[in-house]
C-alpha cells in the first residue's frame, strides 16, 4: 500500500539554537529529507553602508568593527587598506608588522570559533567550544593589552595603527605562539579521527570545484573544494609577500575538508606571527594625516583575505571628508549562496552541519 505523503515547510530561525545569529531558513522537508531551502536574511540589518556616508573616513573604522564581529581586526584592516590605496599612503614598517600580527591572531580566533561551533552543530554538547574558547580567551587578552577592547577593537587607522604595543605584549604573544601548536595538535587528536565526526562530515555537503568558482566562493569554503586561491598569495597586500607560509587545500569539498582547512590555516597563521614578531622593526606606528583628511576623487576596491573569505571594500570619493559611496563585499553572504546546492537531498541534521561548515556571521551578511 502506498501511503500518501506530502512535503511540509519548517521555519528554521530566526530564533533557533544553531543559526549562528538571526538567520532564517524556510526549509521544505519530505520527512527528514530536505527538498528545498530558502534563506531569509535581513534580521540584523543596521544600514552600515548608508551610515558610513555621513561619517569621516576615520569615523567609519568603528562601523567596520560591527560587520563580522568575530573578526573585527581584519575588517579594520581591509577598510584602511582600501582608503590608503586610493590616497596613495605609505604605512610605516612597524605598523605594517603590527597589522599582520593582529590580522593573523584574529584569523586564529575566528577559526577557533568556527570549528568549535561546527562541532556544537554536530551535537557535541559545548565541550569543543569551551576548549576552543580557552585559547580564544588568550587572544582576547592580547587584544585588550594593545587597544583596551575585547570584541570591537577600532585599532587600525588610516596610515597606521592607533596604539603601539605595551611592553608586556611581546612576552605574552611569545608564550601564546609557543603553546598554540600543541593545542592545535590536541584538537586534532580529539576530533579528526572521531568515528562519529567522520561519519557525519565525510562526503556530506559536497561543493564541487566548478560550482565553488561559479558562485565566487572564497576563503576556506573555496579552498576546501580544491581551489588554491588565497588573496595573501594571489594578490599580496601589506607585507604578506615577505612571509613564508602555505595555503592548505582540500580535495573533496565536503564538510570534513572545510573543517580540516580551518585547522591547518591556524597552524600557518602561527607561522606567520612567529616570522612577523622576529622581523618587527622599531619606529613610527602611524603617519600624520592632514586635517581634515580628504580622499582624492575616484573609486577604489580593496580586498583582503579575511578569516571567512574575500572581504572587499568598495569606496567612491568625491574629494569630501566622507565617502560618497561605501560598499562591502561580505565573504559569507557570497559563500552562503552555495547553501541550497549543498543541502538538497540531505537530512535536517546535515542541513545544520553544512550550514555550520560555511561559518557565517550575520553581522556581515545583513550589515
Amino acid at each position: 500500500m502506498a501511503l500518501k505523503t506530502e512535503p511540509f515547510i519548517l521555519n528554521v530561525g530566526p530564533q533557533h539554537p544553531s543559526t549562528h545569529g538571526v538567520f532564517r531558513m524556510r526549509v521544505t522537508l519530505d520527512g527528514e529529507v530536505v527538498v528545498d531551502v530558502e534563506p531569509v536574511i535581513g534580521y540584523l540589518h543596521r544600514g552600515i553602508e548608508k551610515l558610513a556616508e555621513s561619517r569621516t573616513y576615520t569615523q567609519v573604522i568603528p562601523l567596520t568593527d560591527r560587520l563580522d564581529y568575530l573578526a573585527s581586526m581584519t575588517n579594520n584592516f581591509g577598510y584602511v587598506l582600501a582608503v590608503e590605496k586610493l590616497a596613495g599612503i605609505k604605512v610605516p614598517e612597524r605598523a605594517e608588522h603590527l597589522r599582520v600580527i593582529m590580522a593573523e591572531l584574529m584569523r586564529i580566533s575566528s577559526h577557533l570559533m568556527a570549528v568549535g561551533f561546527f562541532l556544537n552543530d554536530l551535537g557535541a554538547m559545548m565541550t569543543p567550544v569551551l576548549y576552543m574558547w580557552r585559547e580564544r580567551e588568550k587572544i582576547m587578552d592580547l587584544f585588550e593589552m594593545v587597544c583596551g577592547q575585547r570584541l570591537t577593537y577600532n585599532y587600525m587607522r588610516v596610515g597606521g595603527v592607533s596604539h603601539d604595543i605595551p611592553e608586556e605584549f611581546l612576552p605574552a604573544l611569545g608564550r601564546f605562539v609557543g603553546e598554540m601548536p600543541r593545542f592545535i595538535d590536541e584538537y586534532e587528536q580529539l576530533l579528526s579521527q572521531n568515528e562519529i565526526l567522520l561519519a557525519r562530515t565525510k562526503g556530506v555537503g559536497i561543493l564541487p570545484r566548478a560550482t565553488a568558482i561559479n558562485i565566487a566562493a572564497s576563503g576556506p569554503v573555496l579552498r576546501a573544494s580544491g581551489v588554491k586561491w588565497d588573496i595573501r598569495k594571489a594578490d599580496p597586500y601589506s607585507i604578506y609577500e615577505r612571509f613564508d607560509f602555505e595555503v592548505p587545500v582540500g580535495m573533496a569539498g565536503d564538510c570534513y575538508d572545510r573543517y580540516w582547512v580551518r585547522i591547518q590555516e591556524m597552524r600557518q597563521s602561527v607561522r606567520i606571527i612567529e616570522q612577523a614578531v622576529n622581523q618587527l622593526p622599531r619606529g613610527e606606528i602611524c603617519i600624520k594625516l592632514p586635517k581634515p583628511f580628504r580622499l582624492p576623487s575616484g573609486e577604489v576596491y580593496g580586498h583582503i583575505e579575511a578569516p571567512k573569505g574575500e572581504l572587499g571594500f568598495y569606496l567612491v570619493s568625491d574629494n569630501s571628508i566622507a565617502p560618497y559611496r561605501f560598499h562591502v563585499r561580505p565573504p559569507t553572504l557570497i559563500n552562503l549562496t552555495a547553501l541550497r546546492d549543498m543541502v538538497v537531498g540531505w537530512k535536517i541534521a546535515d542541513l545544520i552541519v553544512i550550514f555550520g561548515s560555511i561559518d557565517v556571521c550575520l553581522g556581515e551578511i545583513d550589515r
Binding site: A124, T127, A199, A349
Partner: protein, 369 residues
C-alpha cells in the same frame, strides 16, 4: 524474605491482615519514591558538576557547599514558571504526556534490588516487567510530540518511535543472555547468581545493553529526540513549568533507572567485599552514571539513518551471536569451567567488535581523500 514482607508480618501480628498489607505497601512506596527522587536531584547536581569539569569550567558552585542546593533552586525556578499550552494543541494529550513519561520511570524502581532483601516487589518476572514498563515512555514522548502541534516536536516524536522500537531488540536479546546464565527472571536471583559479575562473563552483552540503554534513555550520542542543535528541544519544545519539570525529572530518573538495572544485571548488584551492600550498590550506580556523563561530554551525535543502521546492522546481529554463544556455554561449560567461559567471551567480544568495525562503516558514501 524481603524487608517489606518482614515489616508486613510484624504489622500482621498486631492488626488485621488487610491493614498490614495496605500500610506496608504505602510505606514501601513512599520510602522508594523519596529515595529515588532525592537521588535524582543529587544526580542532576552531580552531572552538572562533572560536566563542568569535563568542559574546563567549574559548574554550579554558589548555592550551599559545592553548589549542592543548585538543583533545588532550579526546581523552584521551574515551579514558578507560567504553564503555557499552545492554542492549537491537543490539550488533553498535551496534558497527559508528561505523566505517561514520568510514571513508568518510577515504576521501574519497584523491582530494583538495592540490597539483600531491600526491594519493593521481588517479582519472579522482574526483567520482563522492566522491559515492558520502560517501553511505555515511548508512547508518552510520542503523545508530547503529537499533542504540542509543533513541527519540531513532531519530528522528534517520529524519531522516538523508530529509535526506541529499534533499540528494544538488542537490549532484550542481551538481557536474555543474562537470564540464561542466571536461570531466572527475578532480579534478586540474577544478582545471587553472579559469583563472577556478568560483565566479566559476557562483556559483549554488557556493551550491547549499555549502548542500547543509552539510546532508550535518549542520551548522547543517541540523543536525537532532543537534539538541540537541530530540532530545538525536541518533543518538549512546547512545555514549560511543572510539565517540563516532569520531563526533566523523567529523563534523569530514566538514566538512574538504567544505571540501577545495569548494576543489577551485569555488575553484581549489591555484592562486593568490605563495604556494606547498600554502599556497593550506590558506588556501582555512580560509576555507570559517570560513564554516561563522560560520553555526553565527549561525543557528537549520530544522524537518524546512521542511528538505525547501528541498531539493525551493528548491535542486533552481535546480540544474536552473543545469545547463541551464551546458550551453548550454559549447556556445556559454565558449571564446570567458568574461567574458560570468561576467556572465550572476552576474546569473542574483541573479535566481533574488530570484525564489525571493518565490515560496517557508519557513513555510507563517504569520500576517501
Amino acid at each position: 524474605m524481603t524487608l517489606l514482607e518482614q515489616f508486613q508480618d510484624w504489622l500482621g501480628a498486631i492488626s488485621p491482615d488487610w491493614v498490614a498489607y495496605v500500610i506496608a505497601g504505602v510505606v514501601g512506596i513512599v520510602v522508594i519514591l523519596g529515595f529515588v527522587l532525592t537521588l535524582v536531584i543529587v544526580f542532576i547536581w552531580y552531572e552538572r558538576r562533572l560536566l563542568g569539569r569535563f568542559q574546563i569550567r567549574l559548574g554550579p558552585n554558589r548555592l550551599g557547599p559545592e553548589g549542592i542546593f543548585q538543583p533545588i533552586a532550579t526546581a523552584v525556578k521551574i515551579l514558578l514558571k507560567e504553564d503555557i499550552i499552545p492554542e492549537r494543541a491537543d490539550k488533553f494529550v498535551h496534558w497527559l504526556a508528561p505523566i505517561v513519561v514520568f510514571t513508568p520511570v518510577l515504576m521501574v524502581f519497584a523491582v530494583v534490588p538495592f540490597g539483600k532483601g531491600v526491594i519493593l516487589a521481588d517479582l519472579n518476572v522482574g526483567v520482563l516487567y522492566i522491559v515492558a514498563i520502560s517501553s511505555v515512555s515511548a508512547v508518552g514522548i510520542y503523545m508530547a510530540g503529537w499533542g504540542s502541534n509543533n513541527k519540531y516536536a513532531l519530528i522528534a516524536a517520529m524519531r522516538t518511535v523508530a529509535q526506541i522500537v529499534s533499540y528494544e531488540l538488542p537490549v532484550v536479546l542481551s538481557i536474555l543472555g543474562v537470564v540464561l546464565m542466571a536461570g531466572s527472571l527475578s532480579l534478586t536471583k540474577i544478582v545471587d547468581a553472579q559469583n563472577l559479575p556478568f560483565i566479566v562473563m559476557q562483556p559483549l552483552g554488557f556493551l550491547i545493553f549499555f549502548l542500547g540503554a543509552l539510546a532508550e534513555m535518549n542520551r548522547c550520542p543517541f540523543d536525537l529526540l532532543e537534539a538541540d542543535s537541530e530540532i530545538v528541544a525536541g518533543y518538549h519544545t512546547e512545555y514549560s513549568g511543572m510539565k517540563f519539570a516532569m520531563f526533566y525529572l523523567g529523563e534523569y530518573g530514566h538514566a538512574l533507572a538504567y544505571a540501577c538495572i545495569i548494576t543489577a544485571l551485569f555488575l553484581g548488584g549489591w555484592r562486593g567485599p568490605v563495604l556494606p551492600p547498600f554502599l556497593w550498590f550506590v558506588v556501582k550506580v555512580i560509576a555507570i552514571f559517570s560513564l554516561i556523563v563522560w560520553l555526553r561530554a565527549t561525543l557528537p551525535r549520530l544522524r537518524v539513518d546512521q542511528l538505525m543502521a547501528f541498531a539493525w546492522k551493528g548491535l542486533f546481529p552481535m546480540a544474536l551471536v552473543n545469545l547463541l554463544v551464551v546458550a551453548i556455554e550454559v549447556l556445556w561449560l559454565v558449571e564446570l569451567l567458568p574461567w574458560v567461559v570468561v576467556v572465550v567471551n572476552i576474546a569473542l567480544a574483541g573479535i566481533l567488535i574488530l570484525a564489525w568495525s571493518r565490515l560496517f562503516v557508519l557513513g555510507k558514501g563517504r569520500v576517501e581523500v
